[in-house]
Every structure is written in structure tokens, then in C-alpha cells.
Symmetry: C2
Subunit: 374 residues, 2 copies
């Protein structure tokens, strides 16, 4: 089957690669980080801020939009892009992970997921077919299959059962898809069991998708297990399709997963931590409320050229945070998203120049950290 | 004494007038509305948003900045303009009104105001001389004298005592002022007593300021009393100096006070109401959470060309508000400030074309309201 992915460069010394993914709303250069816009807005930043930051694609949460304002309303108003005034690509998740996170409020059967709304307790049912239909109504560029998540730790049997159900649901998602031009990605599960990950890869590839995601990672397992699962799974996936690790991660995670062959990432960390006053910088993390920043005229990161760092001091950012001003969230979010997006751009460039391993060494040297074992 | 004000146009049928005020950071066209940036930020909007909206000057609150982050810190970091990245004019109030609002936490003596911080209960003292020194440290373009506010209702004797003290404080403020090029405005008090307002005008004019403000209005008195006090006081003030009504008001108040000869305004209403989901439009007020906006594809105001109205539907604004998203405050604030700033620009234009009374009639006709008695 045809792929929306084109490989531009492959590191000669590791699995890192650069390429592009073609979607209805434009081409994405990979590796790429996708800011999370849960409720049809990336919290605290305008679409214009996102464009200036260099964001190429954002993520919307199907579970949240399904409940409020509702996918039919968004369809009626012209789709999610028009609704939120973002005209570049959007990836929507399937709702599976959010429903899984509801724990006792959700019940999984062969048919699909029954769950209670976190907003008002109302009952809802989402089948694999529904998940695709909702994402078609939203009009996202990349849709995700409904999957069943696996807690950590889980027994092999628990993981096997959930992984098998995810495969049957994935086939139903693919069968239900209309011809809209939207891409559909399968999600590889398997818990922390390499044999189940391998089986899940086979299941997904035999159905055939436009791209493949790794689900169920960063759910509490040790970092080295996450990196190991990522490396093993990425190596098994077809090289000519995009590979996406869902919900990952720290700047270190992004570097390590690119090193292991991943193309796409999303995470709430830069936006959520920004609202909590934690800034990512080239030297590491900075907690803006700390008293040492009280009268510091320097920008958050002296190596950064984002709007926040060009115009505001640490002293001002600390003042806004202490005063609980909305502008604190706005400026911190702009900086953190710029850091993540720019980190990916630097990795793309390094891969194209076949110096990714040097980049990786320098990344850790600047923050005085050890490189994780390969 | 020389005035920073130049009159450009005077209505032939009422007291409305257009002019300009020259300050260290540029010229302000009047009549003008000043968005309030209490804590060194106009809540929810960037300086770039303010420039696009057409804001010419913003207001900072001395009381808040004195307590946090402190005027000495702001001076050390290059002044308020640099601190908050706003390079057009800034007016700072004196702190008098906020201290007055603390009620039992404040005590007024001949020497000045003793008060407890609303943040941590710490005790502070602010003399008229201190109020000027703090504003000089902040580096605002227009400073205000420390005044004593008068509750409503107040007896003539209470009002007389406070008005006389305000005059003695005003003289001390003027005497304490350094040669920085910053303007200093006197504040006319007098409560709701025309004879005391007249006496306060005489007191202030005999000291001699760069402009004159009307304080102690919009403090609970009937609207017609506020309009009457404004008209009487504005008529007594020298025509060749700027006239500023502090803390006023609704769009209707702005039109009525311009009609009565006022040049400058500030009010938290557009920004605070925006955060509470109330939008000002050419047809009147719109409460965005109302169910009728659920699926409305129209902008908040079909006659508005602000960023919010150009790009977002009422349905989207309602969704953001219901979902408690930061973006709700951002987009609503941009719209409301644009409405207030644009209303002033329309009034300026109408005055220059000597059709202000026609403008006033149309303003009320569009919102199906009666014109208040002159």
C-alpha cells in the first residue's frame, strides 16, 4: 500500500532518520513534536503564536471534543481546523487512552468502550467504528485507531488479551474508514513483552495503515524499559511508514526515541509544565518561582530566540508567576513549546548532516548529564 | 505654565473635544481609553495584542507594583516600560484609591497613608512624596498625586476635610517632583458637593499641574449625579489642559463623559468582564455562556474587525468559556479592549467632523436605548 511518508535522510550510525509526512493540510517535516490542543486550543497560545514557534502539526483529543462541544457541532461549523482557526495539520487521538485513564468509570467489551463523562457522569459508548466516525467529523488529518491500553505492570496474559482485542478493533477501524483522504494510524500495544510487541506489529502491518504508533509507553515503566521497547518495536515496523510514540516525553526522551528511529511525538509536558512555572532550557530545567530569579535581567534561556526570551527577563516571568497572571502561562508556554519544536528542528538538521550522534553528545554535555546506554 | 495638551477640535454643540497629550513615550490622541495593566500586564493580552488593538497608553497600579515586585526592582531593571515590554505611554495611579479600598486595613493622617498589604498583611506607609518617588522609580509618563478618597454617601464636613487634605497632599506631591520629564496630574475631589468640587478645582489649578483628574466618581452614586458632577467640574477646569475621569466606565459612560468635556478614561470593565464571559458589542452586551450561542457561527460582533471577530465564532468562544480555557480570556479581552479603544477612535473622528451629537444619537439607537438627559 502507498505511504504518506518519504525518507529524506538516515543516520549512518543509529536508527535516527529524517523525512516528511504528507497530509490533507500540508507536509510535516520529521522528526516532529506535536503540541497538544486538548479542547480545540493549545492552552495559552494563539494559532499565530504556534506558527511563529514553528509548530507544524498539533494534536486534538477525541474524548474531550466528543463530550464538549461535540463532534457533530464541530462538523456543522466546518471542522476542527476552522473552529479553532488552525489551518495546518491536526492529529486526533482515538479517545482510547483518556477512556482508559477514567479507570472505574470505563468498561471495555468486544464491542467497544462504555464510559462515564468526567464532566457530568453521563454514560457513553464508543466503538472502534464510532472512534473513526468522530474523527472524520472533526476532520483531522491523521486519525488514530481505538485501542485498549495495558496497565503497568500487567501479566503476560492480561497484555496478550488487550493486545489481541486492539488488533480486532484496528481491523474494524480500517474497515469503517470513509474515503476522506484522512490518514489512519494503527497503534502497537503489547505491554512490556517483546514477543507481544512483535505480534502486535505483525497484526497492524497485516491490516495495513498509513502510519504506526507505539502505545502504552511512558505509563510508569522504568525509562530504560521504555527505550528498549521503543527500539525493538521501531526496528520491526516498516521503514517506509511514519513511526509515532504516543505521549512521550521529556527532551531527553525525544532525543533517545529519535535515536531509536521514531518520527513523531506528542506530550502535554511543555504546555502543562509551563503553566506550573517550569521552563525547559538548553541548560536543563528552570523553576521560575525560585527566589534566585527575583532580579535576574537575563532571559529564561540565553541560547533561545523565542518571543519570550527576546522580550522578557526571568525577573518579569517570576513576577507574573508569583502574581498568578494569565500572561505567565502565555509566555512560559510560548517558550517551552519553542524549546520542544526547536529541539526537533535541530535533530532534523543533525540527521540530514549525518551528525546526529554528535548532536546527542552535545545535548547531554550542555546539561551536564550522562548519555543513557544505547 | 506650559501644557502637554493641544486642542484639535471642539464640538460646536457640546463640551466634547479632541486633542493630544504629549508624553515622554509619545503623543496620545484624545479622547482616549487606557486599558488597565494592574500588575505590569494587561491581563490576558500581549503588548503586541495591545498595539494591534490600537491602545495608545495603558495604566499601571502603583499600589500593586509597590508591593510586588517593588518599584526599586523595576527601576533596577530599567523601568516599567522595559520590564513589561510596552514602549508606548504609561499612566500610573498614586495608590490612593487602592489604599482607600482596603478600608479597615488603612489609616490616613496628615503625613500620609498607613496600610496593611492585601498579600501578606505587612505594614507600609506612603506619603505624598513617597507616591511621587515610587512613580518616578517606575518611570511612568503620567504620574498621579496621592489623594484621599471620599465614600458615598458622605456628609459635607467629611467631604470638606478629605478635599482639603487632598489639596495639601497635592502641593507636597508637586514640590517633591524631580525634573524627569514625567507629567504630574492633580486629582479633584469634593464628593458630590458642587461647592467642594469647585473649591478643589481652584486648589489644584492654583498649584498648577500638567493635567487634572476627577476622582471619587463611580463610587456608588446614581449615574445622573456622576454625569452632573463630571459636567460641572470639567467646565471649571482650564480648557488648555487634559481632563481625566478616573475609573470610568461603561461604553455609555464614556460617551456621556466625552459629551461633557472629558479627554481620558481608564476602567477594568472591558478586561474583567471579558474574563467573566461578557462581551461588549455595537448592539449591547453579550453573555457568551448563554445556550443560544451554542452553534452560532457568527462573530461576537458582526460590525467588529478585531482579531477575535475576524477569526472565531460565538460557538467557539462559548466552548472556550465553558471549558474554562485560558484562550477564552485572551480572545474575549482582545475583543472588549478593541471595542473600547475603537469607540474612542470613532468619537475622536466624530468630534473632528463636528458631528458628535449625531454619533451619540446613533450610538444609543443601535443599542435601542434612550439618550440620557443632558
Amino acid at each position: 500500500m502507498s505511504s504518506p511518508f518519504t525518507l529524506h535522510a538516515q543516520s549512518s550510525r543509529c536508527a535516527a532518520r529524517a523525512g516528511e509526512v504528507r497530509t490533507l493540510h500540508g507536509v510535516i517535516q520529521t522528526p516532529v513534536f506535536m503540541p497538544v490542543g486538548t479542547q480545540a486550543t493549545v492552552k495559552g497560545v494563539t494559532p499565530e503564536n504556534l506558527l511563529e514557534i514553528g509548530a507544524q502539526i498539533i494534536l486534538g483529543n477525541t474524548y474531550h471534543l466528543f463530550l464538549r462541544p461535540g463532534h457533530e457541532l464541530i462538523r456543522q461549523l466546518g471542522g476542527l481546523h476552522k473552529f479553532m482557526n488552525w489551518h495546518k495539520p491536526i492529529l486526533t487521538d482515538s479517545g482510547g487512552f483518556q477512556i482508559y485513564s477514567l479507570k472505574e468509570l470505563a468498561r471495555i467489551t468486544e464491542a467497544g468502550a462504555t464510559f462515564k463523562s468526567h464532566l457530568d457522569g453521563s454514560s457513553h459508548f464508543l466503538s472502534p467504528e464510532d472512534a473513526v466516525a468522530v474523527q472524520e467529523a472533526l476532520g483531522s488529518d491523521i486519525m488514530m485507531c481505538l485501542d485498549t491500553c495495558i496497565p503497568y505492570p500487567a501479566t503476560w496474559q492480561e497484555a496478550e488479551t488487550a493486545t489481541a482485542l486492539t488488533a480486532r478493533w484496528a481491523a474494524r477501524c480500517r474497515a469503517a474508514q470513509q474515503e476522506t483522504g484522512q490518514l489512519l494510524f494503527g497503534i502497537v500495544q503489547g505491554g512490556m513483552y517483546p514477543d507481544l510487541r512483535a505480534r502486535s506489529v505483525q497484526d497492524m502491518v497485516s491490516i495495513g495503515f498509513d502510519g504506526y504508533a507505539l502505545g502504552g509507553l511512558s505509563v510508569g515503566e522504568p525509562t530504560e524499559v521504555m527505550y528498549d521497547m521503543t527500539a525493538r518495536t521501531a526496528a520491526l515496523l516498516p521503514a517506509d511508514f511514519p513511526k509515532y510514540v504516543m505521549g512521550v516525553g521529556t527532551p531527553e526522551d525525544l532525543v533517545e526515541c529519535v535515536f531509536r528511529g521514531i518520527d513523531m511525538f506528542d506530550c502535554v509536558m511543555p504546555t502543562r509544565n509551563a503553566r506550573n512555572g517550569m521552563l525547559f532550557t538548553s541548560q536543563g530545567r528552570l523553576v521560575i518561582k525560585n527566589a534566585c530569579h527575583y532580579n535576574d535581567p537575563r532571559p529564561a534561556d540565553e541560547n533561545c530566540d523565542c518571543y519570550t526570551c527576546r522580550n522578557y527577563s526571568r525577573a518579569y516571568l517570576r513576577h507574573l508567576y508569583m502574581a498568578k497572571e494569565i500572561m505567565a502561562s502565555q509566555l512560559n508556554t510560548i517558550h517551552n513549546l519553542h524549546y520542544f519544536v526547536n529541539l526537533m528542528a535541530e535533530m532534523r538538521q543533525a540527521i540530514k548532516e549525518d551528525r546526529f550522534e554528535i548532536f546527542r553528545k552535545e545535548f547531554y554535555a550542555m546539561r551536564e548529564q550522562q548519555i543513557p546506554p544505547n
